[in-house]
C-alpha cells in the first residue's frame, strides 16, 4: 500500500484522510443536487468511517511479560496499572481524549457504562477475589500518539497462552488491525508462545514481536537471535527489543539518546506509520471507492438522457434498451434473483456445516476427556481437568469460529460474483449506445464490484457485531462450577486397615462417574449455547449481505429509472431546449468525471 503524499511524520493521522474526506463531501453535495438521497446516505456512511478511524492495536502475551509496562512506556505516562504480582484482569482500551477519563463497561444487556475516577483505575483493572462483571475498561488520555484514532488494547495474560482466556484474546485479535506480541528476554519463545503467534498471524496479518526487559537480562542478544529463528518459521515477523524503564526515564528527562537506547523509536515508528498511516490510506481508499461507485451510478443516470438528446432518431431505441435494463434491475430485487438464491441456499448449507463442525469437535473432546478421567483420580486432577477442558473447548470454539468466518467470506464472494454478473448485464445495456467520445473514452463499467472490496467487509461487519465482546468465552467460566467434594477421604483414618483398599476403589469409581457426568453436562451446555450463537451469527451475516445487495439493487433501480425518465422526456423538448439541456448534461458529466478521476486516484 502506498503512503499518501500528505502522510505526516508525527503520526497525527487525521490529515491523512483529509483529501478523501473532501472528496466524499463533494460527492454528497452532488448526490443532494441530483436528488439522490439514497446515494448521499451511502456516502454519509463512508464519511462516518473516515471520521471514526479507530485503529485497534492489541497488546498480547503471557502473564507478567510487561504488556502494561510497554503501553505505559509507549504513551509516556502511567495508564495501565503495573504490579509485581497481580495481573491485568480486564481488557483496557486506551484511546485519545482531551482529559484523562476511565469508564467501566459492565457485561450486562445492554452493556452498562460507569464513569470512575482515573486514579482509581488500578482497583478495577487488576485481578481481585470478588468476581466483578466488568467486561472492559475504556480509558482516554490526552496523548498525541493516539490522536490519529489509535486504540491500544491491553489484554489480560491470565491463565497462560494455552487457556480459555488466550482463545478469547485470539478472538479479539481477529478483528484487530495489528498485534504487538510481548515476550521477555528471560527465555526464548516457548512452544505455546510460538503456537499463539502462528494463530494470531493467521487471524491478523500485522503482527510484531516485542522483546522486553532487555535492560535486565544480559543474554538478551542470544534470546533475540533464537527468537528470530522461531519467528522465521511463523512468517518472518519483525522483532523489536525494548527496555520499558529506560523509555519511561527518557520521557521524564526528555533524553533523546536514552530513548534511542530503550529501543522504543522502532515501536513508535511501527505504530505510527505502518499501522496508523497504513490504516488511514486504507480508509481513504475505501471511501474513495465508494465515491467512484456513486459517480458511476450518477453518470449512468445522465448518460441515457444525454444519448437520447444527442441522437433523437435513436431515442426510441434507447428508451427500449433502458426499459429492458430496468426490467433486469427489477429482477435483481426479487427473491428469484440468482444472487438471492445463492445467498439463501448458501446460508442453509453454512448453518448445517458449522453446526456439524461444532458437534464433531465437542464429540471428540468428550471422548478425550472420558479417556483422561479413566486414567486419573478426579480428586487429584479436577482443578487441572477444569482448566484443560476449558482451554480445549475454547480452542475448538475458536476453530469453529474461524471455519465459520472462512465459509461466510466464501459465500459472500459467491453472492458478490452472481450479483455482479446480473447487474453488469443490465448496466452494460446502458453503455452500448454511447456515441459520444466522452463516454467512449471511459466505457461505463459499473463498478458494482464493490464486490471484491466489500465482500469480506460485509462479513466482518456482521462478525464484529457478533463477536464484539467475545461473549462466548466469557460465559465459559460460569458453567464449570462442579464440585467433587467433600469426599469421605478421612475414611482412611476411621476404617483402619481391612477393606480400606476396596472402599477406596469404590470411591474412585464414583468420583470418575461424577466427573464424567459433570464434564458431559458442561459440554452439552456449551454446544447448546454455541450452536445458538453460531446460528445467530450466520443469520446476521445473511441479513447483512441481503440488505447490502438489496440496497445496491435499489440504487441501480433508481439510476435506471431516472435515466429512463430523462430519455423519455427528450421527445417532448424543442430543439433549443435540447441543445441547452445537452450542454448542461455535458457539463454535469464532465464534473462527475473529474470527481470520479480524483476518487479513482485515491482508491
Amino acid at each position: 500500500m502506498t503512503q499518501p503524499a500528505t502522510a505526516p511524520a508525527d503520526g497525527a493521522a487525521r490529515p491523512a484522510t483529509a483529501p478523501a474526506g473532501a472528496l466524499v463531501d463533494l460527492g454528497i453535495k452532488a448526490c443532494a443536487a441530483y436528488g439522490r438521497e439514497d446515494l448521499a446516505a451511502r456516502l454519509g456512511k463512508a464519511r462516518g468511517g473516515l471520521d471514526d478511524p479507530a485503529v485497534h492495536i492489541v497488546v498480547a502475551g503471557e502473564f507478567k511479560q510487561g504488556k502494561s509496562s510497554l503501553i505505559n512506556a509507549l504513551l509516556g505516562m502511567a495508564v495501565c496499572p503495573v504490579d509485581d504480582d497481580v495481573a491485568t484482569a480486564v481488557p483496557t482500551f486506551v484511546r485519545h481524549g482531551a482529559d484523562k477519563t476511565a469508564t467501566l463497561v459492565y457485561d450486562d444487556n445492554p452493556p452498562r457504562r460507569e464513569q470512575v475516577d482515573f486514579a482509581d483505575l488500578r482497583r478495577h483493572v487488576v485481578e481481585s477475589d470478588q468476581g466483578s462483571r466488568v467486561s472492559r475498561v475504556d480509558v482516554t488520555v490526552p496523548r498525541k500518539i493516539l490522536a490519529g484514532g489509535l486504540v491500544m488494547v491491553d489484554t489480560p495474560g491470565v491463565g497462560g497462552l494455552g487457556s480459555a482466556h488466550a482463545a478469547a484474546g485470539l478472538a479479539a485479535i481477529s478483528v484487530a488491525d495489528a498485534v504487538l506480541f510481548v515476550t521477555d528476554a528471560a527465555q526464548e519463545l516457548t512452544r505455546s508462545e510460538v503456537e499463539f503467534l502462528r494463530q494470531a498471524h493467521e487471524l491478523c496479518p500485522t503482527v510484531v514481536c516485542v522483546l522486553t526487559k532487555i535492560d535486565f537480562y544480559p543474554a538478551w542478544r542470544r534470546i533475540r537471535d533464537l527468537n528470530a529463528s522461531h519467528l522465521r518459521m511463523v512468517g518472518d515477523l519483525p522483532l523489536m527489543p525494548v527496555a520499558s524503564p529506560l523509555r519511561a526515564r527518557a520521557v521524564r528527562a526528555n533524553d533523546q539518546a536514552l530513548n534511542t537506547e530503550s529501543g522504543f523509536p522502532d515501536v513508535v515508528k511501527f505504530v505510527q506509520e505502518r499501522v496508523g498511516g497504513g490504516a488511514a490510506t486504507r480508509r481513504s481508499a475505501d471511501a474513495a471507492a465508494e465515491v467512484v461507485a456513486v459517480c458511476d451510478q450518477l453518470v449512468s443516470q445522465f448518460s441515457g438522457e444525454r444519448d437520447a438528446l444527442a441522437d433523437p432518431a435513436g431515442a426510441q431505441r434507447i428508451v427500449e434498451d433502458l426499459n429492458s435494463a430496468k426490467r433486469r434491475v427489477e429482477e435483481l430485487k426479487t427473491a428469484a434473483a440468482r444472487w438471492n438464491v445463492t445467498l439463501n441456499d448458501g446460508t442453509a448449507d453454512l448453518t448445517a456445516d458449522v453446526d456439524f463442525d461444532l458437534r464433531d469437535r465437542i464429540r471428540k473432546i468428550t471422548s478425550e476427556a472420558d479417556d483422561a478421567i479413566d486414567e486419573v483420580d478426579p480428586a487429584d486432577m479436577w482443578p487441572e481437568m477444569e482448566e484443560w477442558l476449558r482451554a480445549r473447548i475454547s480452542y475448538d470454539l475458536l476453530g469453529n469460529y474461524t471455519y465459520l468466518r472462512r465459509r461466510a467470506t466464501e459465500l459472500s464472494e459467491q453472492v458478490a460474483t452472481h450479483f455482479h454478473e446480473a447487474s453488469g448485464e443490465a448496466v452494460g445495456l446502458l453503455k452500448v449506445y454511447n456515441p459520444t467520445p466522452l463516454v467512449e473514452e471511459r466505457p461505463l463499467e459499473h463498478r458494482i464490484e464493490l464486490a471484491k472490496m466489500t465482500a469480506g467487509k460485509q462479513v466482518m461487519v456482521a462478525l464484529k457485531s457478533a463477536y464484539g465482546g467475545a461473549l462466548m468465552f466469557t460465559m465459559l467460566g460460569s458453567l464449570m462450577g462442579v464440585a467433587l467434594g467433600p469426599i469421605g477421604i478421612g475414611i482412611g483414618v476411621v476404617m483402619g486397615h481391612r477393606g480400606l483398599k476396596d472402599e477406596k476403589k469404590r470411591q474412585l469409581e464414583r468420583r470418575r462417574a461424577q466427573a464424567k457426568n459433570a464434564m458431559r453436562r458442561y459440554c452439552d451446555e456449551i454446544s447448546f449455547v454455541m450452536g445458538k450463537d453460531s446460528r445467530d451469527t450466520v443469520r446476521r451475516v445473511q441479513r447483512q449481505l441481503r440488505d447490502h445487495y438489496t440496497g445496491l439493487a435499489e440504487e441501480l433501480n433508481r439510476s435506471t429509472a431516472t435515466a429512463l425518465a430523462g430519455a423519455s422526456d427528450t421527445a417532448k423538448r424543442t430543439q433549443a431546449e435540447r441543445q441547452k439541456r445537452l450542454k448542461d448534461l455535458d457539463a454535469e458529466l464532465t464534473r462527475l468525471r473529474q470527481l470520479r478521476e480524483r476518487a479513482a486516484k485515491l482508491s
Binding site: 502473564f63 497462560g160 487457556s163 537480562y217 544480559p218 527496555a243 483420580d377 477421604i489 483402619g496
Partner: protein
C-alpha cells in the same frame, strides 16, 4: 516400638519370606535406605533453576548450569569418602565414569553412551551439606503436549507406589495460579509424587519478579505467601519459599576476587553507579575508568545477575560488611536460602524417620503385592497394619485431608489442628504455638490445655464426623507431646 523399629521388623520378616527368590538384593536396598540420609529431589519445569538451587544447597558449583536447557539426566549427589561418578544404564551393569572438573561444574564423559540410554548418574562427593541429605537433580518436566499425567493423591495408601525420593522441592516460576503450566509443574512423577506432607514449593528466580529492583525479594515474599494459600498449591506442597537461586549459589561460592571487583563498583559515586547499573549492557560497556575489563564485567553479570550486583554493591557501600565472609552471609540471607534451609529443617529433617519409613513401607508393599510368595500376604498385612495404626502416619493423613480442604470447621480450629499434628513443624513449641524459648512448665501446661480442648472436640456430638476423627488424632498428638515433655523433665 518406634515406627522405624516396626518398619525394620517388617523388613526382616520380608527378608525371610523372599530369601532365595532373587529379591534379596531389593530388600537389602530398602533396608539400607532406612539408614541412609534423607533423599530430597529437586523437581520443576525446564529452566526453573533446579541445578542452580542444588549448587546453592551444596555450597559448591557441582551441577552444570547454563542459559539453555542443561540437565538431561537424573543425577544423584551423595556424600562419600571419595570422588566418584557412576553411570546406571537403562540396561546392563553400572559402571564408573571418567570426569573432569576444571572450573566449577563437573564434566562427565559418558564414554559413548547416549543420554537417552542412561537411567541415572550417581555422583559421590565428600561434602558437609550432603551428609544430611542426598540430593537428586532432575531434568525439567517435558513438553506442554504431555497429557494430563497420572498422579496419586492418597498419602500412604497400599495402592501407592514406591518413589526413589523421600521428599521433594518443587521449583516454580512466577506463573498465574490458573495456568496449566503451573499445575503441570507438580507432575514430575519420575522421582516422587507431590503430597503436602513431603513437598515444599520454591518460588525460584525470585529476583526476576521485580525485574531486579532492590526490593524484588520483598515482592517475591508477598507472592510466595499468597501462593501458599492458594487451594491448588496447598494440596501439593506444605509451604512456598522464595529463593533467588543465582544469588544464593554465588553467595555460597563467593571468591575474594569477586568481592574486590564489587568493591570497585561500590566505590563509585551514587549517581554514576546508578547509571552504570541501569542496564546489563551499560554495566559491560560504559565507564572505562572503573578498571574492570569487559570480560571481568560479563563474568560478574553471569555470576550475580544485575540484581546481585546492585544488591552487593549497595551493601558494600553502606560499609557495615567488611569481609567477604560477612558479605556472603548477608547475600545468602537476602537470597532466601537461609529461610529455605530452616523450612527444610523443620519440615523434612525433623521428620526424616517418618518420611524414610514411609518410603520403605511403600517399597515393601509394592513388592509383596506384585510378587506373591508363600508368606507374602502376611508381609502385606503387616505393612498395612503399620500404615493404618502408626500415629505419625495418622498425623500425616489428617494433614493431607486438611490440606485438600476436605475438613470443614472454623478457620481458627483448622489452623490449630494443623499446628498440633505437626503440620508446620514437629518441635513441641511449634505444635503449641509458643516462642522457641518457652519454659518446660509453660509447654507442659499448654499441652495439657490443648489435650483437654481436643478431647472435648472429639467427644462433642455436634462436631462433624470427619473433624471428630481428626480430633482423636490430635488428642493422641497431645498425649505424645505430654509424654515427651514429662520424660524430658524426669
Amino acid at each position: 516400638m518406634t515406627l522405624v523399629e516396626r518398619t525394620r521388623a517388617a523388613l526382616t520378616r520380608a527378608a525371610t519370606v523372599y530369601r532365595g527368590s532373587g529379591f534379596d538384593q531389593r530388600i537389602a536396598e530398602v533396608r539400607e535406605r532406612l539408614d541412609e540420609p534423607l533423599r530430597v529431589a529437586i523437581a520443576g519445569r525446564v529452566k526453573s533453576g533446579k541445578s542452580t538451587l542444588l549448587n546453592a544447597l551444596i555450597a559448591d558449583r557441582l551441577a552444570p548450569t547454563d542459559a539453555g536447557e542443561c540437565t538431561r539426566i537424573v543425577t544423584w549427589y551423595r556424600d562419600g569418602h571419595t570422588y566418584r561418578v557412576t553411570l546406571h544404564p537403562r540396561s546392563g551393569a553400572p559402571r564408573q565414569l571418567r570426569f573432569t572438573r576444571d572450573d566449577g561444574a563437573i564434566e562427565v564423559d559418558l564414554g559413548g553412551t547416549r543420554p537417552e540410554d542412561v537411567h541415572s548418574l550417581d555422583i559421590t562427593w565428600p561434602s558437609q551439606a550432603l551428609r544430611g541429605a542426598t540430593l537428586i537433580d532432575t531434568p525439567g518436566i517435558g513438553s506442554l503436549s504431555e497429557r494430563v499425567s497420572r498422579r496419586a493423591w492418597e498419602l500412604l495408601a497400599p495402592d501407592d507406589e514406591e518413589t526413589p525420593a523421600d521428599a521433594v522441592l518443587y521449583l516454580m516460576r512466577h506463573l498465574h495460579a490458573k495456568d496449566l503450566e503451573f499445575l503441570h509443574a507438580f507432575h514430575d512423577t519420575e522421582v516422587s509424587r507431590p503430597n503436602p506432607v513431603n513437598a515444599i514449593g520454591v518460588l525460584s528466580r525470585a529476583d526476576e519478579i521485580g525485574v531486579g529492583r532492590l526490593d524484588a525479594m520483598a515482592s517475591a515474599r508477598r507472592i510466595a505467601t499468597r501462593l501458599a494459600t492458594d487451594a491448588n498449591v496447598r494440596r501439593v506442597v506444605q509451604t512456598v519459599v522464595p529463593v533467588a537461586g543465582l544469588l544464593a549459589e554465588t553467595a555460597a561460592t563467593l571468591t575474594e576476587t569477586e568481592v574486590r571487583q564489587l568493591r570497585a563498583v561500590a566505590a563509585l559515586e551514587v549517581k554514576p553507579a546508578e547509571e552504570l547499573m541501569l542496564t546489563a549492557d551499560r554495566f559491560v560497556n560504559t565507564l572505562p575508568e572503573l578498571g574492570l575489563t569487559s570480560i571481568e564485567r560479563e563474568a560478574l553479570l553471569a555470576r550475580f545477575g544485575l540484581y546481585g550486583i546492585r544488591l552487593a554493591s549497595t551493601l558494600l557501600r553502606q560499609g557495615a560488611l567488611t569481609t567477604a565472609t560477612a558479605l556472603a552471609r548477608e547475600l545468602t540471607e537476602r537470597s532466601g536460602l537461609t529461610d529455605l534451609q530452616e523450612v527444610l529443617g523443620s519440615l523434612f529433617f525433623e521428620r526424616r524417620d517418618v518420611l524414610k519409613a514411609r518410603s520403605a513401607l511403600l517399597a515393601l508393599d509394592s513388592l509383596a503385592r506384585s510378587r506373591p510368595r508363600p508368606g507374602s500376604p502376611a508381609v502385606a498385612a503387616e505393612v498395612e497394619e503399620i500404615v493404618a495404626s502408626a500415629h505419625p502416619f495418622n498425623e500425616l493423613r489428617v494433614l493431607a485431608t486438611l490440606r485438600a480442604g476436605w475438613l470443614g470447621g472454623k478457620p481458627a480450629v483448622v489452623d490449630e489442628l494443623e499446628r498440633v499434628i505437626g503440620g508446620t513443624g514437629t518441635a513441641p513449641h511449634i505444635r503449641l504455638d509458643l516462642p522457641p524459648d518457652a519454659a518446660a512448665g509453660q509447654l507442659r501446661s499448654a499441652a495439657s490445655e490443648a489435650l483437654l480442648r481436643w478431647q472435648r472436640r472429639a467427644e462433642n456430638p455436634m462436631t462433624a464426623h470427619e473433624m471428630a476423627v481428626a480430633a482423636r488424632v490430635a488428642v493422641r498428638s497431645c498425649e505424645g507431646l505430654l509424654a515427651d515433655l514429662n520424660g524430658r523433665a524426669r
